[in-house]
């Protein structure tokens, strides 16, 4: 493929076809990314509000707002939406779809129709999950893990919630297959694997996990459906089933899924840092290999969720050792990012702030992860708020902040406009403060022994809980500020095609917003993805008018 047939005039991908219907049948990866963006944003806000309600209930001991049953349903729905509808698809489906083809110099993904189908599956899964609110005995009250035998016995709408997760898993698999083939087959000529940018590399590692881990949870969830509808005892001990087997099968997927959630975020951070430091990423190859290592080792650590569920001593020790092993590639990345900053000409812009917050918050999340990964300390903090604090530091502090950073980074490329950057920095600061106020007290509460998943607590836990709840309001203010600033930003001043001065193809060789097939002609790869020598001349030479 050489020249892409196009007329001379610049027509961006919004203008190519118009009308509501043209969006619903689009095969353009950028439009599908935006379809995902709107759907995922809606679900994120819904689940965020559920989180606020939970924090409000926990402002004082005893019943404040919700009865225990409703509280159980709220935290389950919060978890199901946040995990299956926001964090897992979030970065790959939105920013992967939007920028992956551009980063590798391709006009689209390998299977555009399949891409659209996976969006429809996503929407179907989302509707199924929300529909559980409307009928029967209300939404599932099992927690997002659907542990048997309770998930088999409860009268709430577990069957539909589980089917929703199954459909969403299917959507995730199709995206994974699509991305792997895209990266194998559609890299621009001259882009060898070791010249591919790091966000695609992270998506590549992620896609393999999506393909190889998701089916296991799919069949496990179908077994729950079979158990509930046919009344058989696959996991019910009263009928000869083994509930620990369910936990194994569930975590064989759901632990690798944790890396589906965080690897793309790590890739984004690797992509953002060099742009604002104007210097090559430190240890490109090591970052690539550490992504693959995380994906690989991540398969063999699921047992650390089950240290107190009844496993043999040797099994627990092996799982604990493997858990410590997976910390090594994660730490390698952190050191590489920090080294990238060293002696760079750092320009503090909003996306960089989010990337730095990622490094800081992810480090806290990672180190607390070692506390729960060690056998002796895990016995103490298992099923306490320490775990809740830990995974929110990784998931929200890590992936969530990288997600916000990516919105601010790709905003001028997606909409061709620039938001108010001062306001964006203010919103960032409020989010950062609010975040730590919500979740740091949880780590303390966990050490004090407060168990998770209760609507009530002993009076001695009151103060940290109140700090956390007040923090949730600050977090909400920051979020509202960020969202309004972004919405207003769509009418902001026009942005150039490369406002950040990046040297990757998505900025140097495309318009803002890009044309339908991204590039006028297939770009030639002249240099490595993060080669900032003489970058000003290179950018100027390729600047899209």
């Amino acid at each position: 493929m050489t020249a892409i047939p196009q007329s001379g005039a610049y027509v961006n991908f919004y203008q190519e076809k118009r009308g509501f219907l043209s969006w619903l049948v689009t095969e353009d990866h950028k439009r599908i990314a935006l379809l995902y963006f709107w759907a995922i944003s809606v679900f994120f806000v819904v689940a965020f509000i559920l989180g606020l309600i939970m924090r409000l209930e926990l402002i004082a001991p005893g019943r404040t707002l919700l009865d225990p049953q409703t509280y159980n349903e709220v935290f389950t729905l919060h978890g199901v939406i946040m995990i299956f509808l926001f964090i897992i698809p979030g970065i790959p489906a939105i920013f992967g779809n939007f920028s992956l083809p551009m980063l590798i110099g391709a006009p689209d993904v390998a299977f555009p129709k399949l891409n659209l189908i996976s969006w429809y599956l996503y929407v179907l899964g989302g509707i199924l999950a929300l529909s559980t609110l409307l009928y029967g005995e209300g939404p599932a009250d099992t927690g997002w893990t659907f542990y048997a035998p309770y998930s088999v016995k409860t009268g709430t709408n577990v069957t539909v919630a589980v089917l929703a997760a199954f459909v969403l898993g299917f959507s995730s698999i199709l995206t994974g297959v699509n991305f792997i083939v895209t990266m194998h087959q559609m890299r621009a000529p001259g882009m060898s694997w070791m010249k591919m940018p790091l966000f695609p590399w992270a998506l590549y590692a992620t896609a393999w996990i999506q393909v190889l881990a998701t089916p296991v949870v799919g069949i496990t969830l179908l077994m729950i459906v079979a158990e509930r509808t046919l009344g058989i005892g696959l996991f019910d001990p009263a009928l000869g089933g083994d509930p620990v087997l369910y936990q194994h099968l569930f975590w064989i997927y759901s632990h690798p899924a944790v890396y589906i959630m965080v690897l793309p975020a790590m890739g984004l951070v690797s992509e953002l840092l060099p742009v604002f430091v104007k210097k090559s990423i430190f240890g490109y190859k090591v970052i690539v290999y550490s992504s693959l290592a995380i994906a690989f080792i991540g398969y063999f650590v699921w047992g650390h969720h089950m240290f107190t569920s009844g496993m043999s001593g040797p099994a627990r020790i092996i799982f604990s050792v493997l858990t410590f092993l997976v910390a090594i590639p994660s730490a390698i990345k952190v050191f590489n990012w920090v080294s990238t900053l060293y002696k760079g000409s750092i320009e503090i812009r909003t996306p960089l702030l989010y990337a730095l917050a990622f490094i800081f918050l992810f480090t806290i999340g990672g180190l607390t992860g070692l506390v729960v990964g060690a056998l002796a300390t895990d016995i103490h903090v298992h099923d306490t708020y320490f775990v809740v604090g830990h995974f929110h530091y990784v998931m929200f502090g890590g992936t969530g902040f990288a997600f916000f950073g990516a919105i601010h980074f790709y905003f001028p490329k997606i909409w061709g406009r620039m938001y108010n950057q001062k306001m964006a920095n203010v919103a960032f600061s409020i989010l950062f403060v609010g975040f730590n106020l919500v979740y740091f007290p949880m780590l303390v509460l966990g050490m004090m022994g407060m168990p998770r998943r209760y609507y009530d607590y002993l009076p001695e836990f009151t103060l940290p809980n109140q700090i956390s709840t007040v923090g949730s309001w600050i977090l909400a203010i920051g979020l509202i500020l960020m969202i309004t600033n972004l919405i207003r930003g769509r009418k902001g001043p026009k942005a150039s095609s490369n406002p950040w001065g990046s040297v990757t193809l998505d900025w140097t060789h495309t318009q803002s917003p890009p044309t339908l097939y991204n590039f006028e002609k297939t770009p030639e790869i002249e240099r490595g993805p993060y080669d900032y020598t003489d970058y000003e001349a290179y950018i100027k030479k390729n600047l899209q008018s």
């Binding site: 047939p5 196009q6 005039a9 297959v177 087959q185 089916p215 077994m223 058989i232 005892g233």
Partner: protein, 207 residues
């Protein structure tokens, strides 16, 4: 604007290798889907060895063996149909696909007959005889219905895929030079076959 006339095919070139790669990745997911069930089977067989032995004795070896022959032969015919198309004989290719689908139909008829017998014996979950079984034997029949049932769904899906491919061969969309859709359909059909190759000994042969 003239750029509106540009279609996807002008920009994104037809890539048979990529499509095959995608199919293989999808087959991995299918293998892992059944993999979860195989783990459950292994666990419960280990826990209830005697009961699984008794459950296995209730199954009809002859029916299972006939179905194995059906599926193995159908894998041959689908492979032949690919070679026929590669050599430019579209008509023979379609006929061989039709024979494959006939085998799939025969497999399903046989399966229907077999399950009907089980229903008559009250062995389906919730039925009279099933309720009197020990937990271990009930587990055997749970897995028997779940695994062969899921496999039967795959047989139906595979047959539908092949039917669609046959239609496109007739219409001239899938040809000697563009046979990847047939090849992918064939790959899926082989997977259906391979899974049965494991199900048959696990339920019918191992004592």
């Amino acid at each position: 604007m003239s750029s509106h006339a540009v279609s996807h095919n002008d920009v994104i070139h037809f890539d048979p290798y990529g499509k095959k790669l995608g199919m293989w990745l999808f087959l991995f997911t299918e293998v892992l889907l059944f993999g979860g069930l195989f783990i459950v089977y292994a666990t419960y067989r280990f826990m209830n060895h005697e009961a699984f032995h008794e459950g296995s004795a209730e199954l009809d070896l002859v029916i299972g063996a006939i179905n194995t022959v059906f599926l193995l032969t159908s894998s041959l015919t689908v492979a032949l149909s690919i070679t026929a198309l590669q050599k430019g004989n579209a008509k023979l290719s379609v006929n061989l696909i039709m024979i494959t689908i006939l085998f799939a139909g025969a497999f399903m008829m046989n399966k229907y007959y077999e399950w009907t017998l089980k229903f008559e014996h009250g062995l389906f979950p919730g039925m009279e005889h099933y309720n009197q079984l020990s937990n271990g034997e009930a587990q055997f029949f749970n897995l028997y219905f779940l695994m062969t049932g899921l496999h039967a769904i795959h047989v139906i899906v595979g047959a539908i895929i092949l039917l669609i491919v046959a239609y496109h061969i007739k219409k001239g969309n899938v040809t000697k030079d563009r046979y990847i859709y047939l090849e992918n359909g064939g790959l899926y059909w082989h997977l259906v076959d391979v899974i049965w190759i494991y199900l048959f000994p696990l339920f019918y042969l191992i004592i």
